[in-house]
Subunit: 442 residues, 2 copies
Amino acid sequence: MAAAKIAPRLPKGMRDFLPDEMLKREYVFDRVRETFHLYGFEPLQTPVMELRETLLGKYGEDAEKLIYFAQHAGGKEELSLRYDLTVPLARVVAQYENQITLPFKRYQLSPVWRGDRPQRGRYREFYQCDADIVGIGDMSADAEVIGVVVTALRRLGFPKFTVKINNRKLLIAIGHYSGVPDAQLPDLYRSVDKFDKIGADGVRAELEQRGIAHEAVVRMMDLLQLNSGSGLERLAALAKLLGGDQEGLAELRQVAEHLANAAVPPQFYEFDFTMVRGLSYYTGPIFETFITEPNLGAVSGGGRYDGLIGLFRRESLPTTGISLGIERIIDLMDELNLYPNGIGGTVVQVLVTVFNGDTRAEATRLAAELRAAGVHTELYMQDKNVGKQMAYADKKRIPLVAVLGGDEIAAGVVKFKRLSDGVEVSVERGVAAAKIRELLAD
Amino acid sequence: MAAAKIAPRLPKGMRDFLPDEMLKREYVFDRVRETFHLYGFEPLQTPVMELRETLLGKYGEDAEKLIYFAQHAGGKEELSLRYDLTVPLARVVAQYENQITLPFKRYQLSPVWRGDRPQRGRYREFYQCDADIVGIGDMSADAEVIGVVVTALRRLGFPKFTVKINNRKLLIAIGHYSGVPDAQLPDLYRSVDKFDKIGADGVRAELEQRGIAHEAVVRMMDLLQLNSGSGLERLAALAKLLGGDQEGLAELRQVAEHLANAAVPPQFYEFDFTMVRGLSYYTGPIFETFITEPNLGAVSGGGRYDGLIGLFRRESLPTTGISLGIERIIDLMDELNLYPNGIGGTVVQVLVTVFNGDTRAEATRLAAELRAAGVHTELYMQDKNVGKQMAYADKKRIPLVAVLGGDEIAAGVVKFKRLSDGVEVSVERGVAAAKIRELLAD
């Protein structure tokens, strides 16, 4: 340990979480985990490092540049840090196919690493939070992952949000209907995807600028007008416009039916034929969830990707899933003030102060009693006067202090003071833990 | 995603945790976290990667070879994966000294990476679990971290274990008492440390073989005889032998007093003057915890290290702490069968079966009701007969199935079957969640 002292620094784009922030993150993680458990999703954990060959060729050239490689002195394997949670899932499904019972409903809440340019809200180490159902082609699975998103956001306290639902198959059908040649379809989707940002006129201008035929643009504009009315009405209108039913529409109708049966409140989802998710691996329904009031952007995405799970396996398995933008959600929890009172700050519920040297033994006994009764207790350990101890509790945002002077000890009682309002109360030692719970619940 | 398919494999020494194992790990993590919270330790999380310069020169040459280095294409920083949780703690204490209120009682439960030769029970990615108190020189802090270990192991259900307590200062005093020259002290400690394994005769033989003077060996043997009697008796006997009090003895007497006040049951700790912890950075009391019945080795270590926190800071701060060997504890939980019934397997409490296509809507409604009432519910999604659905529940170790055929729907009831004993019961839909809790609690 003889190294020269260097300045304590973090790598760029990486973060420490001190207790206050950590407790808030854990509050969010716990609510999300609870929601996954309600829906029967099981936890999975893969190691931080994967073999380099497992990740290479999976994300495209640009993304691949962002992958971290790792090695120890003399290590013979080429290793990479996890870039997302989907490729590890595909590996796990293939590697343990004899141990896994299908459907495999798993979630993973884990950090990933990307050597991206750090900026506000974008980090090089960040958590992803995915829930997927492997092995079910039926639309009930798609409805279920939508239900998970709605339930998680409601349990976190987000008042207004919308899961936008579209279907990759429908986007293709719409492209064909519009008469746009296949080669131009990516351009078409890119413009359509901006509908929310630049409006109908903006999309029209952009399409024409891209050289898409006027007639095709007009037909597209009709489609973009469909974004009103209830879910089933929109689906019916689109069917009429496209001149007949489409596989993609039939699927969305099934999704709508399952969502209604599952009592997912209709204000939380809508069909939006202009929503295009970038990733090319989607094969069916796609979802994207936006916080709408205030308008704060996307917090979740997902969809069906029936081909991807076959990356490490002879045959793929039908799969649908969602990813919660958990870092964004954590930021918004603060911005919208959604944390309940008492989340963050400290785990400590009560500080047992030490009146003087003679009373330390009794203070230690009291702390032990409270801990045995399940109270998160800090015993003051420095040699300072009670005023300083109160100031310490205040600074650390500990809600209650216990005072145990000679009089209290003689009378077999303990005095509690609640720092938020100065309420003081003396109770017998035997009921101290119960009184603490009462004081914290008020 | 056009890469050739490769075999799904893990890097050497790394592990996936499928749901069954993950649920058991989380049970252990949760019990440990609860214990830390009872004692007022706060969660901290540092990033997986640190700057290479932060770790270099901190662990010694042999250890340094095991550190993983990381880099992304074009990345300008030299990065390393976390090797332990102590150096990051020292960095955090220095980096945020204006934000952190002392004492800083933090725990961290996080993976670390070491490119060690993998073997049974030793992995290249494994979790460490540390709780430390930074900023307190008083022995009440040392007693508190001992209390944390005892409480955590008791809450996990370990019936018999002992925290062995010694003091680095005492080891030095004993060395001097024995008349062994300073240069030979490391040899002396290495032999003394083997007392439990090779006994008094073994240690004597080894000391003489190492060339330690006969008289010194005889004096050491007297000391090794002290390992009987109660804690305070041992301390008194050693004081007598050493011919006067020692700082190290006075400290242990204070630890003993705090432990008694904190009602830590005496069967869970003892003073053992032959216990030597390898790490050179300890400066005061040291602890090592052994599972004693059956004799299963060490599961926790720790001690006071008043110099280390100064690695990144002008002045150090007095610090004491413990590390739980959490991977070893997890292995022993299985070996000793300490998991309560129902831990592991699946998160799912009830499988809602689907009688036939006509009843799927109603089954979906039931699943939604149960989830809203807090029950972890899986809705069966495949098109198979009820017998196959029962077999699926059995295979996945789901404890209850709900059956909802036409008769049940007409009568507004639901039938539950408990798979462990075949008990069947029909109840009204409105009390279904309550009945599930009852069936699971029986």
